[in-house]
Every structure is written in C-alpha cells, then in structure tokens.
C-alpha cells in the first residue's frame, strides 16, 4: 500500500508552496494539491480535491487542510472517493512536512500518525 499526501488550502499559493517545501524532503512521495476555488478565488473546491485524490500516484492518501471549511469539503470528497483518505486535524505546513519526511524515510502510517499526534491543533 503506497502512501501519498494531499494538501488542501483556501489559497492556491499556500497549497503550491507547501508542495514545494515538502517535495524537498520527500522526492519520492506523491504530493498533489487542491488550492482555492474553481475560479481561482479564496476557498476550497470539492472537484479540485477529488482531482488531487485521483491524480495522486499513491493508493492511500494522507490529507492535510488549513481551516474547517476546507475540512468539510475534504470530507465530502472523501465520501465520494474510492481510495482510502485519512484526514489529520494537525497544523497544515508542519504536519504535512512531518508526514512527508517520515514517508520518505520509509516509515509506515501508524508511525507517521504517532508523530502527527503532537501537532494536533484542530
């Protein structure tokens, strides 16, 4: 079971920037993003999230989001998705960075989640 990461943010630049940051420490982890609304505004888009889930090369997804409304749209996409999607109520940038570094090091999901527990803030 390969593990990938999706980043869901209200702002496209945040999502793209987090991807840049974590790709540096996790060259082999598939990271896909859903930032902003369909028309490029501030918000989140269920369609973009679904796209990020399906475009991700992994068959199991760890998902990180910024604010509660992104979480709701993420959960909607999760309901519609065939791939298992795990949501974490952790700090977006720091949580995604931690998960990426650990996945690159070959750690399994349980161990990643143990580290993420310290970053829970939502």
């Amino acid at each position: 079971m390969s593990l990938g990461i999706i980043i869901v943010s209200h702002v496209d630049k945040i999502a793209a920037g987090v991807q840049t940051l974590i790709s540096q420490v996790a060259a082999d982890v598939s990271v896909t993003i859903a930032g902003g609304t369909d028309d490029g505004g501030v918000g989140t888009s269920v369609e973009k999230i679904q796209q990020a889930i399906s475009d991700n090369k992994a068959d199991e997804i760890l998902a990180f989001y910024d604010l509660g409304s992104a979480k709701m749209n993420l959960e909607l996409a999760q309901d519609f998705s065939d791939k298992p999607v795990h949501l974490y109520d952790v700090a977006l940038v720091e949580g995604a960075y931690t998960a990426a570094a650990l996945l690159q090091a070959g750690v399994d999901r349980t161990a990643v989640e143990a580290q993420l527990a310290d970053l829970k803030i939502k």
Binding site: T37, D38, G41, V42, G43, T44, S45, V46, E47, L67, G68, S69, M72, N73, E75, L76
Partner: protein, 195 residues
C-alpha cells in the same frame, strides 16, 4: 404536507433570487466575524442551481434535490457549500423513502450536523435549522419561528466555524449562515410549502 417537485423548484427559484439580491448584505454580515464572502459564495451557488435546473428539468423530487446539492457542493467554495450541499444531498436520499416536509428537513439537519459537527448554541446555521425542524414536526412552522431563530444567533458566542476565531468578539452579530438559512425557510413557506 408532502414536498412536490413543482414546489421544490418554486422554492429554490425564490431562494436563489433572494440570496442574489441579498448578496452584499450577507457578505457584510460575514465581515466582522468571518471572511466577508458568504453572500458571494451563496450567489455563486444560486447561479449554479439556476444553471443546473435550467439545463435539464429534473425527473422527480429526488433528482431535483440531488441537482441542487451538487450545484452547491461544487460551486460555493466555503463552509456553507459543503453544509447546504450535504443537507440537500441527505434530503435527496431521504426523499426516496418519504416526501413528508418535516422528515426531509430533519434529514437535512442530520446531514448538517454530520458535516459540521456543531450543535445548537454554537452560532451556526444549526441554530436556525434545529428550531425550524422542531416546528415543522410540530406542524407549526411560521415566519415568526424562523425570524426568532435567526435573531437569537445575535447574542451567541461562536464556538464553531470561522467566527469562533474571534471568540467573544462574535457576540452581538447575526450569524450569516443563519440569516441565509432564514431566507431558505421563508422562501419555502412563500412557495406554499407548509409544515
């Protein structure tokens, strides 16, 4: 009473027109305690609903509710899109079993609660949906009930949603999602759907 396809279309056209007309006001309500986009979000949703319903007349009530849900889910972009979208999605599902208005609204409320995790008193649209569903079940839903529920959100302190970030400073402002939910139910009554 039972909800018909025809009444549903009338109801939603009314809602779409109202939120579009009240777009600036709804966003203004969202400014001191949120990010100032609630009216814009819902106006986008309203346009999407009109668009979707215009493109193809839904075959039945379930199809109509589902079309409305998908338009909201895909075009709103904010919390309210996921919430209203889920509410209509759950109403669509429930409509396969029952067309009783009170039961459908109750299914919508359950969807809202599942999606947002809020209960009454947290200064969210739940504070309008919950008393509306209760009144509908009791068979005495009036505009007064709706308006009172909307106004009751003013003194509340937000503990869910964006408004919770400003804590005590959320007190004294109407909740934008509750105001738009008030429009939803008032338009339902105006469309002749009683409960």
């Amino acid at each position: 009473m039972t909800l018909t396809l025809e009444d549903t279309l009338k109801w939603l056209h009314g809602f779409d027109a109202t939120v579009t007309a009240q777009k600036a006001y709804l966003s203004e309500l969202d400014t001191p305690i949120g990010d100032g986009d609630h009216g814009n979000n819902l106006a986008r949703g309203a346009a999407a609903i009109e668009d979707a319903l215009g493109k193809q007349e839904p075959a039945d009530l379930t199809a109509a509710l589902k079309t409305i849900a998908m338009a909201l889910v895909s075009k709103v972009g904010g919390a309210s899109g996921a919430l209203y979208g889920t509410a209509f999605l759950e109403m669509a599902k429930a409509s396969r079993e029952t067309q009783e208005v009170a039961d459908l609204l109750a299914a919508g409320l359950a969807g809202l609660q599942k999606r947002g995790g809020a209960t009454t008193g947290e200064k969210t649209m739940i504070d309008v949906w919950a008393p509306v569903v209760a009144a509908a079940k009791a068979g005495n839903l009036t505009t007064q009930v709706i308006d009172d529920a909307v106004q009751a959100t003013k003194p509340m302190k937000a503990t869910k949603g964006r408004a919770s970030y400003v804590g005590d400073n959320s007190i004294g402002h109407l909740d934008p999602g509750s105001v738009s939910s008030g429009y939803l139910f008032s338009e339902m009554l105006k469309a002749g759907v009683t409960a």
